[in-house]
Symmetry: C2
Subunit: 195 residues, 2 copies
């Protein structure tokens, strides 16, 4: 069967991603998704058969984009510090656009609906760990479990973006003020990580 490509299928998927990852509405109903997309709810079933299948597709694509972004940084053949700088930039921008994506992945993992695809990310991480170890041996980094280094890095990048609403409330800041703070963090994270 051929297709006429009215763009509706992609529109629904993009809208779902926006609701889930950008607005944090992790349990939006098909009606809410359809309304946000400005289409008839039945089209969700027409294109995706069921809500669960839409969920799965969005979930998997989210993981792929996320993985690809990180891989491009990891695999680039440039000095370690530059690599980290690129990572901070790429990750921050990604997370700014979709702050709740990781959160979505985690909650879905907790529902046991999706078995986390061990698409052997483990191996690529091992390479990154080795690279970090070399830097530590050369005295470029404070010695510690390289996994702690990675955890530190991602914590400093991701957490303030994931918890943005909470932080804004605690500090009494508006969106612009917080965005500025996040921009300043890029350099600050770099300095913190490298002592």
């Amino acid at each position: 069967m051929s297709t006429r490509d009215t763009g509706t299928e992609q529109l629904i998927k993009d809208t779902a991603k926006h609701l889930f990852f950008a607005e944090g509405k992790l349990h939006a109903t098909t009606q809410e998704i359809a309304d946000a997309a400005g289409v008839n709810r039945t089209l969700v079933n027409y294109y995706f058969r069921s809500r669960d299948i839409l969920f799965d597709q969005v979930f998997n694509e989210a993981q792929d984009v996320f993985s690809t972004t990180l891989d491009e940084v990891f695999e680039s053949n440039i000095p370690f510090k530059e690599k980290i700088r690129n990572l901070i930039n790429a990750f921050t921008e990604e997370t700014k656009e979709y702050p709740y994506r990781q959160l979505f992945i985690i909650t879905e993992m907790n529902r046991d609906l999706v078995l986390y695809s061990k698409r052997s990310r483990v191996n690529k991480v091992k390479e990154f760990i080795d690279e970090i170890q070399v830097e530590m041996d050369n005295g470029e980094l404070r010695k510690m479990d390289p996994r702690q280094f990675i955890i530190n890095l991602f914590s400093l990048m991701a957490h303030p973006l994931i918890t943005a609403p909470l932080q804004k409330a605690i500090f009494g800041m508006n969106d612009d003020e917080y965005a500025k703070l996040m921009e300043e963090r890029k350099e600050l994270i770099f300095e913190t990580i490298f002592r």
Copy 2:
């Protein structure tokens, strides 16, 4: 009207907290809560009238416990470094037990169902910021926006616990190995924060 206190009301509330905060099942149904508590679902309505009211109570109590824990640390009249050490301990233990509590608070905030009670946490935070500023002026801390210091601290503490399932998958670790890593972090966070 007096009460006979069979413990059922508290049991339901505790079970809900456990599902939400410990297991991350943020959208557990009343049936699931009742089953987990081993009681008839109707009792949820008997004690709380509606599911939303149960949600609100659990949500508010979560905020209160969280706030109280932090306040006790903030208000204690001890040297700054000790205060931070206590904070790291208290916060880590709390988050270990209920890793998804903050996540729950955030997603609820995004549903616009609950207006974040600005119970003037802002003021207490201001005092803490001042205290940090003094330390920076005295050269005890690297100079930066004190809010960044706070964000760094909470990011390093909370994020690896919130994203535990993800991290375990990425690093290929089991529960015990990850718990050990988290324990080692307490000291590591302290050192990272104080350069």
